[in-house]
């Protein structure tokens, strides 16, 4: 294995920030049950409260509006599960409206709900991943319970019009959720500006460890827990407080707030350097996603004539970590549904590579990829039947 590791898969997960790691190590002995009244419990409780404030502050929420969860997927499932709660009893609202490019924790979950009598309307996106707002408006009605629109797409980085969707949702009396897992920590997110009722975020996308996330629940909004059996989180999510995870997430949120403005510019410049470098060095490639409204570090490129898993694994042999929308990498026979929904044919979808840059990527990393990738594409294309 190559000694040099260039990690450009930060949309899949991020490494733990050194600052976060430091705080984790300093606080690992905070073992008390934060629900306990005694000293160790109060210490844990204070740490949890402190972190809750930091997470709230990052997204413009009040601390009591933050519920810690096991991650983004739990947060998303919790919101979708509300459709079965007594909130919607006798309201005639049994429909969820969402997009065709949501993360599987929304996209696949709503499909399981249809088996239980819930109706789901999927809204199309255009060729760059922008939500078709006219379609969304046309899909609204007084039978809609929840509208869920992701803030930024994990595969292509396109930023969706969540506040526009929220206006439409609220105009017909539906609740508004956004899966902001890819956005929080990378771009400014303000729950009041977005006017959402629920927002999901995940620790390991912003340099905290796996297994910790949060759900924003707007004050005054009716709610029903997914996980029962304890009074934690003001009765909104049972389970002993994950002291270490919560402290880590709070620290990561504080770090993100402090570095975001600078980091957006820096990562954006690296992404642009990578994109322009690839366009100059590799013929016949296409860039996917809306390049004007996009996460700063995300670059999705199709290399027609070169199958994505082959590209990924040749890059891996050079120590470069990326991901692909090719079917072969997943074990299914279908390429990424996100890319397919953009209207990309199978050839472009199977040949797509996602580079997702993060806080620890450097100009040298980008230049290393620009040095190693073009010969790989050339090699694969030379043995291609296309």
């Amino acid at each position: 294995m190559n000694e040099r590791i260039v990690y450009m898969d930060n949309n899949a997960t991020t490494p733990i920030a050194p600052e976060v790691k430091e705080v984790i190590l300093q606080t690992l002995d905070i073992y008390g049950n934060a629900s306990s009244m005694h000293g160790p419990g109060r210490l844990a409780s204070a740490a949890v409260s402190h972190s809750r404030g930091k997470v709230a502050s990052l997204i413009g929420a009040q601390p009591e509006e933050i519920v810690f969860t096991g991650g983004g997927s739990e947060s998303n499932n919790t919101v979708l599960n509300l459709v079965f709660s007594d909130i919607f009893d006798n309201t005639g609202r049994n429909r969820i409206v969402t997009t065709r490019i949501e993360h599987p924790s929304i996209y696949e979950t709503v499909q399981t709900l249809t088996d239980k009598g819930i109706e789901v309307t999927f809204i199309d996106v255009d060729g760059q991943g922008n939500l078709k707002m006219d379609d969304l408006a046309a899909a609204m009605g007084d039978d809609v319970a929840i509208v869920s629109v992701m803030m930024a797409n994990n595969e292509i980085g396109t930023i969706l019009d969540v506040s526009g969707a929220a206006r439409l949702a609220h105009a017909c009396g539906a609740l508004m959720h956004t899966d902001a897992v890819q956005a929080v920590g990378k771009i400014p997110v303000d729950v009041r500006e977005l006017d959402v009722d629920f927002l999901s975020l995940s620790g390991h996308k912003l340099y905290a460890p796996k297994g910790i996330g949060a759900l924003y629940i707007k004050k005054g909004i009716a709610f029903c827990p997914l996980i029962h059996g304890g009074h934690q989180e003001a009765g909104r999510r049972a389970g002993t407080y994950n002291n270490t995870g919560i402290i880590a997430l709070g620290t990561a949120a504080e770090l993100a707030a402090a570095t975001m403005a600078e980091e957006m510019v820096r990562e954006g410049a690296l992404r642009d350097r990578l994109r322009e470098g690839l366009l100059a060095a590799v013929p016949d490639i296409t860039v996917n996603g809306n390049q004007k409204a996009i996460l700063p570090g995300t670059l999705n490129v199709s290399f027609p004539g070169a199958e994505g898993e082959s590209i990924l694994l040749y890059l891996d042999l050079e120590g470069i970590a990326v991901s692909t929308g090719s079917a072969c990498a997943t074990g299914s026979l279908e390429p990424s549904y996100v890319l397919t929904e953009l209207g990309l044919g199978p050839e472009l979808a199977h040949s797509s590579i996602r580079f997702s840059l993060g806080s620890y990527n450097t100009v040298e990393d980008v230049d290393y990829v620009l040095e190693r990738l073009p010969p790989i594409i050339k090699k694969i294309r030379e043995m291609s039947t296309l």
């Binding site: 294995m1 199958e307 898993e309 082959s310 891996d316 090719s326 072969c328 199978p346």
Partner: protein, 203 residues
């Protein structure tokens, strides 16, 4: 970041890695004078394979290939090319995916599908060679057609099950053979075949 020792192992075996990094017998000469040519697979599934052969006295004296495919497809076809050169047409026609994957030291189960295209394209090339030579094809009927590539279920096996009365429905076929339970891509073909066989033998 440095890598730790427990992640040193690659996704595939060392043999697969070697054939992936240094694929053998790639077709690079645009003027290659082939005696037979086989093209299999489709873009929709992300794998396409071209095999060309030269034949002397019913022995494959040279074989070249190209693919639009993943690492497993590249490695297995590279291995297949090494195995097939020097074989008689008869031997080469009966090369199976599992013979190739055995030599590769195995492939992950969900990757088996990717490895079958190479020998399919080889058989197509041999068919093409015989057709060009105006000769009868003694092999085509000798090999059963694989319907479910993942579970390696042939048309002949399905026919036997229908004839014996053990299988009457698609569900029974799946229960008894596992057909169509991995990637599911064969369900359409298998369903049509079952309909046809039930029409002939089913009571």
């Amino acid at each position: 970041m440095s890598s730790n020792s427990f992640i040193q192992e690659w996704v595939y075996t060392d043999v697969v890695k070697d054939h992936f990094m240094n694929p053998r017998n790639i077709l690079s000469d645009p003027d290659y004078q082939e005696d037979g040519r086989g093209l299999e697979g489709s873009l929709a599934c992300g794998d396409q394979m071209l095999v060309v052969i030269k034949v002397t006295d019913d022995v494959i004296v040279d074989l070249k290939w190209k693919t639009y495919g993943c690492a497993s497809a590249i490695a297995s076809t590279s291995m297949m090319s090494e195995m097939a050169i020097g074989m008689t047409l008869d031997e080469a026609y009966h090369l199976t995916p599992s013979m190739i994957t055995d030599r590769l030291g195995g492939l992950p189960t969900h990757k088996f599908h990717c490895s079958v295209l190479g020998d399919k394209a080889l058989r197509a090339a041999i068919d093409d060679y015989l057709e060009r030579a105006g000769r009868e094809n003694p092999f085509k009927k000798s090999v059963a057609k694989v319907i479910c590539e993942c579970k390696n279920i042939t048309d002949q096996q399905i026919e036997a099950l229908v004839k014996s009365g053990d299988v009457k429905t698609f569900e029974q076929l799946q229960e008894q053979t596992g057909l169509g339970t991995v990637c599911g891509q064969c369900k359409g073909t298998a369903g049509e075949l079952l309909d046809e066989l039930m029409h002939l033998y089913g009571k």
